[in-house]
């Protein structure tokens, strides 16, 4: 089914590894632009929930208000049901409401002589679906601040839905590894070498999945990249497979939106024509 435009069978995906917070897959039979779009959307446009506003009632800790607020923002929050939450900008409420936000409260006071660690475990969510991420039952949570005797922290956090385009705290992934053409058959890049390429440039792990090039084979200048090795680690707010599927959905939504606009435009143009009597 191959022709000059690649395969017609459409993109394929092969999952190589799937863990709690990690996914590796191969995206094949598609164009570089599609693969890169997926990467970009995974990083920056998959919506999650993160603390966006912090109302500080009492803070007698050693850390400044704004610094604690920043730390809270970076705490990943379980966002599997993120679809149920609206963006605040799309919501009808004036500031925030339960439809577009989750409220988390924290109130800790240290009365002990020992240093008291305040962790993300102590954030109490108004909505059980949206809890600070814990890897397992023994996870003590993410350290927010340490208290000494007499210190108190009492805060109300408003978590909102958002995307990493706006702020990095909404990113579901810590990074997306992306590679194609591990043998550099396409000669997109030029490896700078001092003496011996084999010695100085260790092959990437993905090279094992491709046949090594025949050194005598002529250079195929028509070849295009069509196998993309993805690997991504999440921050915990979403399952890795969710990130990928939600990224694809986001891409689809974007296209659907364009499609809808196109339709509207066409309809408008048609109306214009009819009004002119055609």
């Amino acid at each position: 089914m191959e022709n000059a435009y690649g395969t017609l069978s459409g993109p394929n995906i092969t999952i190589r590894e799937l863990q709690k917070d990690k996914i590796s897959f191969i995206l094949s039979d598609t164009d570089l632009s599609v693969a890169n779009s997926l990467r970009r959307v995974m990083i920056a446009e998959v919506p999650t929930i993160a603390i966006d506003m912090v109302e500080i009632e009492t803070n007698t800790t050693v850390l400044a208000d704004e610094f604690i607020a920043h730390r809270l923002g970076m705490i990943p929050i379980e966002s599997t049901d993120v679809e149920r939450i609206k963006y605040t900008r799309d919501c009808t409420c004036s500031q925030y409401c339960s439809e577009c936000s989750v409220e988390l409260t924290l109130h800790v006071k240290c009365t002990d002589d020992r240093t008291r660690d305040v962790t993300s475990r102590e954030l109490i969510s108004s909505n059980p679906q949206f809890q600070p991420v814990l890897t397992d039952k023994n996870d003590s949570g993410i350290l927010i601040v340490k208290l000494r005797k007499g210190h108190e922290l009492s805060i109300k956090c408003i978590a909102k839905k958002g995307v990493a385009k706006e702020h990095a705290k909404w990113s579901p992934v810590s990074g997306v590894a992306f590679e194609y053409d591990p043998y550099n058959k396409l000669r997109h890049t030029h490896y700078w070498i001092e003496e011996d390429e084999k010695k100085e440039w260790p092959l990437s792990k993905n090279a094992a999945l491709e046949a090594p090039p025949d050194p005598n084979a002529p250079f195929d200048y028509n070849a295009k990249p069509d196998r993309f090795y993805f690997s991504s680690e999440t921050v915990g707010s979403l399952q890795p497979e969710e990130v990928v599927s939600m990224a694809m959905k986001t891409l689809l939504d974007k296209l659907a939106y364009v499609q809808m606009q196109l339709k509207e435009e066409v309809d408008m143009k048609k109306q214009d024509h009819t009004s002119w009597g055609y």
């Binding site: 990083i43 992306f178 100085e200 260790p202």
Partner: protein, 1143 residues
């Protein structure tokens, strides 16, 4: 090589500070010169006496006569200071409530007061030769050095220090004056008690026949005050001694001094000066001339010489009236001639030596000594300077008592009754005795107010503020050493030169560029300044046993013999060959500790040469010398060597430089020659040297961690980096000096790539996500002090009270509490109330507004009481926190003098990324490297990457790698082992298209510093705004919302471009555009005046020319307002300016 970050170790040290030791004892060594010199004021050497006791002894007795009686002088009262004591800082005696009477430094910092202790003097006096009366006199409170033996923190370790609100590794060595930490700067001064030959043209200005030749010696008394004597060569062959007494210079023929010092004969003088070298006709001619020319004075005996001198100097010396001329002459010799020596015979011998050296300089047998070389320099230590000033102020106090008594005698001699003890105590109370206040003034301003000048060349700039901007800067203050303000004005650059003699003592890298370059140096990190007096009582015996002839035979008649001196005292003569032997033996004994030869003794052997330095064996045991450790090859022990002896020693730097049979010493490590801050530059041996200098400067401007006791600090401005990290790549010394306690930057993933163009010209692109996660996030703390006692009229009761009266609106109550002080954590915008107080007279609440342009958050409010804690609150200190997240235009730098400005915060998805999905935090342009040649930064990147991949701390001490064992290979192998490219390159993909970039990219981990220069403090923009009211042109200055001058050269460039519209826009429309009436008929700009039209209907004004008396020719023209001003100015001078107005 260390490969761990010692995280747990450090955490443990922070959690449980030790009670017995410091975490980083090396840090305590840094301030030793300051601390030890201050301690020596009260304890110098082994005994209980301090420098102050010696000073008091040196001041001696004062005598006044009342003039009553027959013999003309009358009754005598003699008084003197018997002893002096300094108490530890304590609570004011008026305070009756405090249980703990000690005042700790942190209280002084927080209360913005001076850390001072009471100075008391025991003053004794006697009437005629009657019994001695004693009184303890309060002389005010003197500022005390933190952690000195007069400080409450003395002997405390980490735990105790933390309990007293100090840093766990507090070093001390500074003073606290009005809450500000001040350091007495180390100063370079000529080496004491050593004769230097000088050729200086300005010597000719001393008088007729004075030549440029001279021999100078800076003599130091036991109390560390000094006086310089210079022997001048006159063109007629004569020699004159010059010294300064109370800033006035005096010249005395050398022969007169020689004859006055001991009972001697012309023959003895001839023999001493000639030393048997009768064949040297140059010498004999001059000695003959010396002796002959003295005949005109007709002084033949010692007594006649002394009498002659005493007669001339009686008034100058301000001595007791009952002293004879001979006694005055002796006093002069004691106090002004070669003051480091006691015995007349020693002084005679040394003066002879000076004359001999002078003649050999003139004849060209020896060369001049370079006073700019560290060989002939030592350090003026803070404590010693402090002691000198204290001594002079005590002396002045005694003198002012004398002056007061004299005034009393002159005015009302009947009231003066020396018999009555009340009279003398009364005088003492009358005379201002606040010696402590004078020292506080000195420390606060750095200005030296002195009658004698203290043998120093400058009057200002002695103290500096110990800024806690970051730890590098703080530490450098203690290690910086200045050449003297006098040299800063010199046009010649010779004083600024880096001399080979400075090797190991002054850091060749760590000096600022610009005006203080080469004048403001820093001590090498292993350089120590000797402070303890050494026991050299065994030296004469040892020297004699080594074959040195005794100085009693001051005429040895052996011209080939050289002089052996110990601290400027001639202790014998020997041949140059045996001098070498003596020096070698002494050194061996010194290093091995035999015969009690002290380890800090300096053995300066100067060999004979053809026209080189004057030969001899010069031993030094005095304090204030720079010393450093090197390894003695003979037994591998440490030998402390000084800057004088180093010049003639054979010290190898590296093992392969050792020449068998010649080299005697070897450096422990080449990094010993660098200062602490210069040592912190990673792989500095790979960099072009100026870049290392720049880094030394920039490291000190970095936003870092100023302190770990932030809540006890009240600095005016403090910069803090919130997300500081320990560098992955750091030298060994990083741990030694505990820099992990005060992180200075962040490890950043840096890609060297030209991407988007926003990294041109030293700009750097910051990853937006990284910024959002807190990269380089900083805070500025600013202090506002509100002191209501400034408003108080002296003598009146307190009329202003902090608080809010009724009728204050709600908006103010949002920010201020009932007590008139802001809530903690409240945000203040410009114009918001900072605090409020009630004026009792009017009953009004006065709101003090916050002026700063930036929003501040109230961090701390400190209520400051007075010393006796008896009055109500009048002073508050409000600490504001200003958040400074990095923005476009903020300055960053790596540790290699590679500074850059953030140009964009680039979205993470658009950043290039590696195969592993790694995106750079920072992108810099490859063009930053070829011309600057900071290869060290590449190596750091490589090492950082390998360190991050393997989880190890990388050692970046310079001079560890060489051509055989290169850094690139060492770290390349580590990278290869982690599966990365050997050279640190990686294939990268464009974030925008996902396409692999054409070239592989150099990417690694580099430690980045955020510099304190931020756009928020610097931006200057204006559309319209305040104008100058005379010219109507925009004002200048950023603070006043002024403009930036569009000057002549800018104008020229617009003219050259022919863009006249822009020119008009800048110079007219945007500046002082105005409309003015002009009379077309007479052409005058000033004659048109407006007149009221005599009409009740309209109030229209009519403009009329006063000259032409008509409004016919009036036109309106657009002119710059200054033109109108010019016209009026000219008119006032009678010059008419006519405008030709055409339609």
């Amino acid at each position: 090589m260390p490969s761990t970050f010692r995280t747990l170790e450090r955490e443990e040290a922070f959690r449980n500070p030790s009670n017995k030791k410091f975490g980083t004892p090396e840090l305590q060594e840094v301030v030793k010169p300051h601390l030890e010199s201050f301690d020596s004021l009260t304890k110098f050497g082994n005994g209980d006496t301090g420098l102050l006791d010696l000073a008091v002894k040196d001041i001696g007795h004062k005598t006044v006569f009342d003039g009553v009686g027959e013999d003309g002088l009358g009754n005598k009262i003699t008084y003197w200071i018997e002893g002096i004591s300094i108490a530890k800082p304590a609570v004011n005696v008026r305070d009756t409530t405090s249980l703990h009477r000690e005042i700790y430094p942190s209280e002084c910092r927080e209360r913005l007061i001076t850390y001072k202790g009471r100075l008391q003097a025991t003053i004794n006096w006697r009437f005629n030769d009657g019994p001695v009366n004693t009184e303890l006199k309060d002389l005010g409170q003197v500022p005390l050095m933190i952690k000195s033996n007069k400080c409450h923190l003395y002997g405390l370790y980490s735990k105790g220090l933390v309990e007293r609100h100090e840093e766990s590794e507090e070093m001390g060595g500074y003073f606290i004056v009005n809450g500000i930490e001040k350091i007495i700067r180390l100063l370079i001064v000529p080496r004491r008690n050593h004769v230097v030959a000088i050729i200086r043209n300005s010597f000719q200005n001393r008088g007729p026949t004075y030549s440029p030749y001279g021999c100078s010696i800076r003599c130091t008394r036991p109390d560390q005050t000094s006086l310089t004597n210079t022997v001048h060569y006159l063109t007629d062959g004569n020699a004159m001694i010059r010294f300064a007494w109370r800033k006035q210079e005096y010249m005395i023929p050398a022969i007169m001094i020689l004859k006055a010092l001991i009972d001697t004969s012309d023959k003895e003088i001839f023999d001493a000066l000639c030393q048997g070298d009768t064949k040297n006709t140059f010498l004999t001619d001059r000695i003959e001339l010396l002796l002959r020319s003295f005949k005109v004075y007709n002084l033949y005996t010692r007594e006649s010489c002394l009498r002659y001198l005493g007669d001339k100097f009686r008034v100058v010396m301000d001595v007791a009236e009952d002293m004879t001329d001979v006694q005055v002459g002796e006093e002069l010799l004691r106090k002004a001639v070669l003051v480091h020596l006691k015995e007349g015979r020693d002084k005679f011998n040394l003066l002879v030596f000076m004359i001999r050296k002078l003649y050999s300089l003139v004849s060209g047998e020896c060369c001049e000594d370079n006073p700019d070389s560290p060989q002939h320099q030592e350090v003026l230590l803070g404590g010693h300077l402090y002691g000198m000033i204290l001594k002079e102020k005590l002396f002045d106090w005694l003198s002012s008592i004398k002056a007061q008594i004299r005034t009393d005698i002159r005015l009302k001699s009947s009231k003066v009754d020396f018999m009555n003890n009340k009279y003398f105590t009364g005088v003492m109370t009358k005379v201002p005795s606040d010696v402590g206040g004078k020292l506080s003034y000195f420390l606060a301003t750095g200005n030296l107010v002195s009658n004698t000048g203290l043998d120093l060349q400058q009057a200002t700039g002695y103290t500096i503020v110990a800024e806690k901007l970051n730890f590098y800067r703080y530490i450098s203050h203690f290690r910086c050493i200045h050449r003297g303000a006098f040299f800063a004005e010199l046009k010649t650059t010779t004083v600024r030169k880096l001399l080979p003699e400075a090797w190991g003592f002054l850091c060749p890298v760590h000096t600022p560029d610009g005006s203080p370059c080469g004048l403001l140096n820093h001590l090498a990190h292993k350089c120590k300044v000797v402070n303890e007096p050494l026991d050299v009582s065994m030296m004469p015996r040892l020297l004699a046993s080594l074959g040195v002839s005794q100085p009693v035979l001051h005429t040895i008649n052996r011209p080939d013999y050289v002089c052996v001196q110990l601290d400027g005292k001639i202790v014998g003569w020997c041949s140059i060959k045996s001098a070498l032997k003596v020096s070698q033996s002494l050194r061996f004994w010194k290093v091995t500790g035999q015969h009690n030869v002290p380890a800090d003794l300096e053995i300066g052997y100067v060999p004979t040469s053809h026209g080189g330095q004057y030969p001899g064996l010069y031993l030094f045991s005095t304090p204030a010398r720079m010393m450093r450790p090197v390894k003695y090859l003979a037994n591998g022990n440490t030998d402390m060597i000084g800057s004088f002896e180093q010049v003639y020693m054979d010290i190898a730097c590296l093992q392969d430089e050792v020449i068998p049979g010649i080299s005697t010493h070897i450096e422990f490590t080449p990094t010993n020659v660098l200062s602490i801050v210069a040592n912190m530059t990673p792989f500095s041996d790979f960099n072009q040297s100026p870049r290392n200098m720049y880094q030394c400067q920039m490291g000190k401007q970095t936003m870092g961690t100023p302190s770990t006791a932030l809540n006890h600090r009240t600095d005016n401005k403090m910069y803090r980096l919130q997300s500081g990290q320990t560098p992955v790549v750091r030298p060994d010394l990083h741990n030694l000096y505990g820099f992990d306690g005060f992180p200075n930057g962040t490890n950043a993933i840096v890609a060297v790539i030209s991407y988007t163009g926003y990294d041109m010209e030293d700009a750097m692109i910051l990853n937006k996500s990284v910024h959002e996660r807190g990269f380089g996030y900083g805070t500025v703390y600013k202090a506002e002090v509100v002191d209501l006692s400034d408003l108080r009229v002296t003598g009146e009761p307190i009329m202003h009270h902090f608080g809010l009266a009724g009728g204050v609106n709600k908006k103010i109550r949002e920010k201020l509490d009932e007590d008139g002080l802001p809530f903690i954590g409240v945000q203040l915008k410009a114009g918001d109330p900072l605090c409020a107080y009630v004026d009792e007279t009017t009953g009004q609440t006065i709101i003090k507004k916050y002026k700063g342009p930036e929003d501040g958050l109230v961090d701390e409010v400190r209520l400051i009481g007075d010393d006796a804690s008896s009055t109500e609150l009048q002073k508050v200190h409000i600490k504001l926190r200003i958040t400074r997240s990095p923005i476009i235009g903020d300055k960053f730098s790596s540790r290699h003098g590679q500074k850059g400005v953030c140009s964009q915060k680039w979205p993470a998805v658009d950043m290039p990324f590696t195969e592993s999905g790694m995106q750079p935090d920072v992108i810099i342009n490859p063009h930053a490297f070829p011309s600057r040649m900071t290869i060290g930064m590449f190596v750091e990147s490589l090492a950082g990457k390998a360190g991050a991949l393997h989880g190890i701390a990388q050692d970046s001490t310079p001079f560890k790698f060489n051509e055989q064992n290169t850094a690139a290979d060492y770290f390349g192998e580590q990278l290869l082992a982690a599966g990365y490219n050997y050279h640190g390159n990686e294939a990268m993909y464009s974030g925008i298209t996902g396409e692999e970039l054409k070239m592989d990219i150099y990417i690694g981990v580099v430690y980045y510093q955020r510099l304190r220069h931020m756009v928020s403090d610097k931006y200057q923009v204006r559309t319209t705004g305040p104008v100058h009211n005379l010219t109507m042109q925009p004002v200048k200055g950023r603070k006043r919302a002024g403009g930036i001058r569009f000057g002549e050269m800018e104008r020229d460039s617009l003219l050259a471009h022919g863009v006249s519209f822009l020119l008009q826009d800048r110079l007219m429309n945007c500046s002082d555009y105005s409309q003015a009436h002009v009379c077309r008929l007479c052409g005058s700009l000033v004659s048109p005046i407006s007149t009221k039209v005599a009409s009740s209907v309209s109030s229209r004004r009519n403009v009329e020319c006063r000259v032409c008396n008509t409004s016919k020719g009036i036109d309106v023209v657009a002119i710059p307002y200054v033109f109108r001003y010019l016209t009026t100015e000219l008119m006032s001078m009678g010059i008419k300016l006519t405008l030709g107005v055409k339609p």
